[in-house]
């Protein structure tokens, strides 16, 4: 979706807010927000791509005014309701419905480290032959889907060169939309800075972006 989350190249955000000796969490609630997001993912009612889409789908003005973990919390609540873990009434009351069945959490403390060390790998074996090889000239598609996409706006309809091939990976654009994994070959494509930003960019510089086969055409 063409949301405000797709920030590459935008003007007006000012200097980088560098903070010396920054703590891992600025507030205790940020740590709780992180932990709840990881724990609730254990219900497997949504995947990581869907989570990212839920954050992107926050109203643009809210997205920009919220901090990182505020976005996480908002998206988490939206997903929990959409997937039947919580009800609107429970949110309004701030407590569990009287007739709510008590569940057994799928993620218990003793499983946390194993879950984190396993992670969620996205590489998949596919029989499809990769359409591109390293060194191939490609052009990104000019697409503007209303749903999730990992092809940033600043890199659409641009010419690049395949720099790396990573095999096939779960296709985030489909996976976020409840359309299954649909694994596709994944490449890192090199774009010269001048192709993306014009002649003011340094002729030496480039941006490397990971893109799936459906984002690319041969040229």
């Amino acid at each position: 979706m063409n949301g405000v989350h797709d920030m590459g190249g935008m003007h007006g955000f000012g200097p980088i807010p560098i903070e010396e000796d920054e703590p891992i969490f600025h507030e205790d609630w940020e740590a709780r927000a992180l932990a709840m997001t990881l724990a609730l993912a254990g219900w497997q009612r949504w995947n990581l791509d869907r989570s990212r889409y839920a954050r992107e789908a926050l109203p643009p003005a809210d997205y920009l005014s919220m901090s990182y973990y505020e976005r996480w919390v908002a998206a988490l609540v939206d997903l929990a309701v959409e997937n039947g873990l919580l009800s609107g009434e429970e949110l309004r009351q701030g407590r569990a419905a009287l007739d709510a069945e008590r569940s057994d959490p799928p993620v218990t403390a003793d499983r946390v480290r194993a879950i984190l060390s396993r992670g969620v790998p996205t590489a998949r074996e596919v029989s499809a032959v990769p359409r591109f090889s390293v060194g191939d000239a490609v052009r990104t598609r000019n697409i503007h889907p209303a749903g999730h996409t990992r092809l940033p706006r600043y890199a659409r309809d641009k010419c690049g060169e395949v720099a790396l091939h990573h095999g096939a990976h779960v296709f985030a654009d489909a996976h976020a939309m409840g359309q299954g994994e649909q694994p596709q070959h994944l490449y890192t494509v090199r774009f010269s800075a001048r192709e993306l930003w014009g002649d003011e960019a340094s002729p030496k510089d480039s941006v490397h972006i990971d893109l799936w086969e459906p984002h690319l055409d041969a040229r």
Partner: protein, 210 residues
Amino acid sequence: MTQDSHSHDHPHSLLPSDPELRVKTLESLLVDKGLVDPAALEAFIQVYSEEVGPMNGARVVARAWSDPDYRARLLADGTAAIGELGYGGRQGEHLKVVENTPELHNVVVCTLCSCYPWAVLGLPPAWYKSSAYRARVVREPRSVLREFGLDLSEEVEVRVWDSTSEMRYLVLPQRPEGSESLSEEALAQLVTRDSMIGVSKVLEPGRGDQ
């Protein structure tokens, strides 16, 4: 914005808007319903507060500086070589290491969200997640790097890596001069988080190993 203006599509607006109160209410709801285990929440927080952080990536870099065979394996297959040191998993399932040289400087971003190699660097700093960094580093990397105190010559090539997939990028910084006699452990002390994101150089020997 009023609390209810998006309540139809966005149930989160039914909770208090103050973040601390919102999180507290949510947590008590989730615990009450048995949706999360309070002890599991503590365990997640402990892992990312104490067990996983930039010291992991620093050990990878120090090993690469000390052992040419390891360096070769690391650049060829980051996931496997980093796995040799016991790191991987969540937000480090697929790792690619990119090497800085006198002629080439690499810097990492995620313009669409804030993807970051948690397994080797821990949780990202606020500036990495900021709109300013996400918006600017792809378009004007050299000015952004100058804000971090890194003034690169026009002769140096700058490569920006926008983490749009589940590949996670780690920069292998240049080993500093004067570090030839240092042990792997002392080398790791020179490697900062920011040098592995690519917004600064590593510390000079004699400064970081005190």
